[in-house]
Amino acid sequence: MFDRIGKALSGTGHRIIDRIWRFGSAARMFVYVLLSSADSFKRIRIVTKEIYSTGVLSLVIILVSAFFVGMVLALQGYNTLQKYGSSEAIGVLVALALVRELGPVVTALLFAGRAGTAITAEIGLMKTTEQLSAMEMMAVSPISRVIAPRFWAGVISMPILAALFSMVGILGGYLVAVPIIGVDSGAFWSQMQANVDFRDDIVNGIIKSVVFGVACSMIALFEGYDAPPTAEGVSRATTRTVVNSSLAVLGLDFILTSFMIHT
């Protein structure tokens, strides 16, 4: 009996220590990445190539999702607002929900699933096939040649993707609200313009997506770099990327929002 409790306790303890240990290694890798970033900006071509494969290739899924999210927002919003006779406020509601929350958060979640997993699998496979070892033996640091460019590509892509998400989402909301439901087009846009604040809404949204960009890229890269060099190890690492990125995004979102909303 006590034996089993003891075992369970020590198992939990081991897992916690393991988590802390991994978090420490991830933090150390983050510092290395920052230190070797000057190097990767000197070879900007590598960064742009990575922006293409992380950012541009995520565009389709992100834009299509944004369109549907915007349409649903308009439907749901209209349904509630018209009860209070303020259905022209639909434009504001859609825009604020997208710019402040859904744009950065949903983009980051989709990014983790589309680009993050791809990054983890790629780095993990490069490790498994000794490509990273070979690079080290050629006196080229994998951190500055492989990891840092992908990190910056993610950090740069994320806010742009989130902005596009919000834009297309608003377009989707417009299509449902104005031509289909029949809200006045002038009211839709003018209310939106009057009530969306640049500093409080747009800049805060951008700050969020930059933070999510750092978190998602770093998690994807670390999981790949840290994966055991086997097929199973890489597949587990890919799963962990999605799980950890999603949790990190939602947790960080709460923390950032609570700082941004003044009561």
């Binding site: 790629e122 496979l125 490069m126 096939t129 000794e130 490509q131 070892s133 070979a134 690079m135 080290e136 033996m137 050629m138 006196a139 080229v140 640091s141 040649r145």
Partner: protein, 268 residues
């Protein structure tokens, strides 16, 4: 300046406390082709990684060009590695780059040569391994043997002073094997380099090596010129050179008696 570009003194190394090398001594004189032979799992790849500074010895030291590898800073190790080229056992080509870009990689990273010169260098190296015509292919479009030849071209792209080959012949047909074998010798002499070749192919290696080390169970069990070793009567060398199953090197990983394992759980 020492005559030996690489020296290994009383080297011990192990993974997770299990010793793989137990006091190894080897010297690699400049300009020579030296072979390291030994059974599977005897720690040959690990030895090359120790020379390259990817692993730290538990005891003893590795000296490259009069500098002790594990006492160097990171920059120091990178400086030493620029003198080395290594052919990995499984090629380790960069799968996102074409054959041409793979060979160009070390040149682009470490020099500022104009594109036209890089092109000439790369095609020259690829020509030497007989794959100039394949320079547009991606690594996934190559056979195992072709990958290894590209990896060889990449390893010598910067004309290193020390070239390490990990099993250069595995997976090659007899013709390419002969060609690569002679290429190792010719490259070595043309570049004035020192070659360290890890291999199982006694016959090929004895035809080009200047000196041969046999390792087994973490120790150097025999060494000498190919001629000396061919005439050796030491049982280990005899077994290895003549490929006999019985002898001091066991073919089987330690296991319980086969018969008792087969019939475990039955009444016999």
């Amino acid at each position: 300046m020492s005559d030996n570009i690489v020296e290994i003194n009383d080297l011990s190394f192990g993974y997770n406390g299990r010793l793989i090398h137990k006091g190894i001594n080897m010297v690699f004189p400049r300009g020579k082709v030296i072979a390291i032979m030994g059974g599977s799992g005897s720690g040959k790849t690990t030895l090359l990684r120790l020379i390259g500074g990817q692993l730290r010895p538990v005891e003893g030291k590795v000296t490259v060009d009069n500098e002790i590898v594990h006492e160097q800073s990171r920059d120091g190790i990178y400086r030493l590695r620029r003198k080395m080229g290594m052919l990995f056992q499984f090629g380790a080509l960069f799968t996102d780059l074409s054959v041409f870009e793979n060979v160009a990689f070390p040149i682009r990273e470490h020099t500022n040569l104009p594109e036209s010169m890089i092109r000439d260098f790369v095609l020259l190296k690829l020509n030497a391994v007989g794959l100039r015509g394949a320079h547009n292919l991606m690594p996934t479009e190559l056979s195992g043997g072709m990958s290894r030849r590209v990896a060889l071209a990449r390893a010598v792209a910067l004309d290193p002073a020390i070239i390490m080959y990990d099993e250069p012949f595995a997976g090659l047909d007899p013709i390419s094997m002969g060609v690569i074998c002679n290429l190792i010798r010719r490259l070595n002499d043309a570049l004035g380099a020192t070659s360290i070749v890890v291999t199982h192919d006694v016959h090929e290696m004895f035809s080009i090596a200047d000196y041969v080390y046999f390792v087994s169970d973490g120790r150097v069990v025999a060494e000498g010129t190919p001629q000396e070793l061919k005439n050796s009567t030491a049982p280990f060398v005899h077994q290895f050179v003549h490929g006999e199953a019985d002898g001091p090197v066991p073919f089987h990983y330690p296991a319980p008696d086969f018969k008792s394992e087969l019939f475990r759980g039955y009444d016999v």
